[in-house]
Symmetry: C2
Subunit: 337 residues, 2 copies
């Protein structure tokens, strides 16, 4: 049975969605959950759910990392935080992976330094999973684990993202693209031009540069970016989606006819909103650390937590980290550049 440690104190609304999402995941996916946090609070939340026959246990962590803690402070000064304890459970082999909806920067730092990186990995990458127009998912990485990336880092992101997509979505030859500002090889900055030239020689299905709009088209599977541009892309897409939903609601409440129209199409809207909801895709795996780590949005609801646990469990079942280490270490020296 796969065991996932859930940082139950991390999110904006913790521990309610963490506990509910964990119970849902235990029931639906048959995983064992270690809920990490303040035991009295967690037991009180757990009492609201029927957990008969489920494997949900509480593990004590006395400290909580807040959304305003700096990553360094959180890592160095809160050694008994729920994120630290969850990471230690993974390091000691008591859990196969961890899930957190906490302070992203702090959780990445804790995971990176408590678990370490895989021997062949220079920098871990945070991989966002974004819903596409074709109903599938595009994996975009890095979305912010690093700020100033070098050529070798982007090459490793490409390899890790490709393996993730292949193993988790069962696509034999995922299409890997490089985020740039034009499709031609020569379009882009110094970094992307050099990465493009090297990716062409790699043993993966590299389809060239794509512009930002292709992230949501579903025409490619993995989009590689430095962490700065990737984070901008992710945040812009969240902003636009939110903006559009607000404008639409306003427009639909403007006249009586459109109000009636809105009422009639409410189910269609619900489906529509679900299709653009990142909560459905299950958080962002932090690839390259020595232990499975999935990071959810701070505002994660129970459904988002449930799906993040699902992703962590799938990564564990697929032995993703062994595959990353195996394939990266077999690559030519280009990656060391």
């Amino acid at each position: 049975m796969i065991t996932i440690a859930v940082d139950a104190m991390g999110g904006d609304h913790a521990p309610r969605p963490e506990v509910e999402g964990s119970v849902l995941a235990a029931r639906q996916f048959g995983v064992r959950i270690l809920l990490v946090g303040q035991p009295a609070e967690l037991r009180r939340e757990l009492a609201k759910h029927s957990v008969k026959g489920l494997s949900v246990e509480v593990v004590t962590a006395t400290e909580v990392i807040t959304m305003t803690d700096s990553p360094t402070h959180a890592f160095r000064k809160k050694k008994d935080s729920s994120a630290h304890v969850a990471a230690r459970l993974v390091r000691q082999g008591q859990a196969d992976g961890m899930v957190s909806a906490g302070n992203t920067g702090a959780v990445m730092t804790v995971a990176r330094f408590v678990l370490g990186t895989l021997p062949s990995v220079q920098r871990p990458a945070l991989a966002a999973q974004l819903p596409t127009g074709k109903g599938g998912v595009t994996v975009l990485l890095d979305v912010g684990a690093n700020v100033d990336s070098k050529v070798a880092h982007l090459l490793q992101f490409a390899v890790m993202g490709e393996i993730y997509y292949r193993l988790i979505f069962g696509v034999r030859r995922p299409k890997v693209a490089l985020l740039s500002i034009g499709e031609e090889e020569m379009k882009g900055n110094e970094l992307t031009q050099e990465v493009h030239g090297k990716l062409k020689e790699f043993p993966l299905n590299f389809v060239g540069n794509v512009e930002g709009r292709e992230i949501f088209s579903g025409n490619v599977n993995v989009v590689v970016s430095d962490g700065f541009a990737g984070n901008v892309a992710l945040k812009v897409s969240e902003g636009v989606a939110q903006h559009i939903v607000v404008l639409l609601k306003k427009a639909l409440q403007s006249t009586m006819a459109s109000k009636v129209g809105y009422a009639l199409s409410r189910n269609a809207y619900r489906e529509f909103r679900k299709s653009i909801d990142y909560a459905e895709t299950g958080g962002a795996p932090l690839l390259g650390v020595r232990g499975i780590t999935v990071i959810g949005h701070g505002g994660s609801n129970a459904n988002a937590i449930k799906n993040a646990v699902r992703v962590a469990a799938e990564m564990a079942r697929a032995r993703l980290n062994e595959r990353i280490e195996q394939e990266l270490s077999a690559l030519p020296v280009a990656v060391e550049a």
Copy 2:
């Protein structure tokens, strides 16, 4: 009377929307238009419109830059293209500004080298005007005139964007923000950290870092970015908007009730789509060149062309370039860094 040279052969559907948009602009804003391109084609298009009392003239250009021409090729080998001729009309003072919906890279190169840059400007910047949730516009620059930007370039972008917003939208102290991956000063890459420190000392209303989602919130007026991240942000936002409209349409045609609902709310949708339509905001000014230049989307319709002409005319009336030169040259040496 303000005169605007319109590159009538540039866009994907040229010259139809260029001619129609120009006629609309001449009628609505009282500007004089020089339609630049192949005279027989332009006269044929013009014949479809009533131009009595309007000042719309045809200026011959024998060559056309295509969407696949490289900027260098277009600039060097097509000296009699409609973009070159339009730029020369501006340089020679026969027009107060130019508008083109052609190949963005080529038009930027032609404008930059035919017109030159303003004496105090190191690099021109392309400024996108994006509709916000509050009904106003956010100006994002640079969105792709440059790929590898230095600190001094971003500082100049900030100053130019601020002046543009102040003069064109009549906002006395526009809020200027720096696009980064976190709000705190220390968040970001080497470039943004250094720019942040210097912008704080500038005589403008600098409100700090913003993440990508704030571009559409309407909480800030000008967002400064290097051209790579700015272009990614722009293209992602176009991609998401398109994606969402497709998904919504699909959802609304799924059941009879939602189809009826859609029919009832059709006017509300039309308003909604208009509010997220970049054609309404009027193209992207290329700031910092010695002559007013506004670049439209390749797929510009007549409305987009009309609004681009409006923006160019407003820039000319406000004597924007004189103000940019005056304010930039008066700044301390920090900008030279």
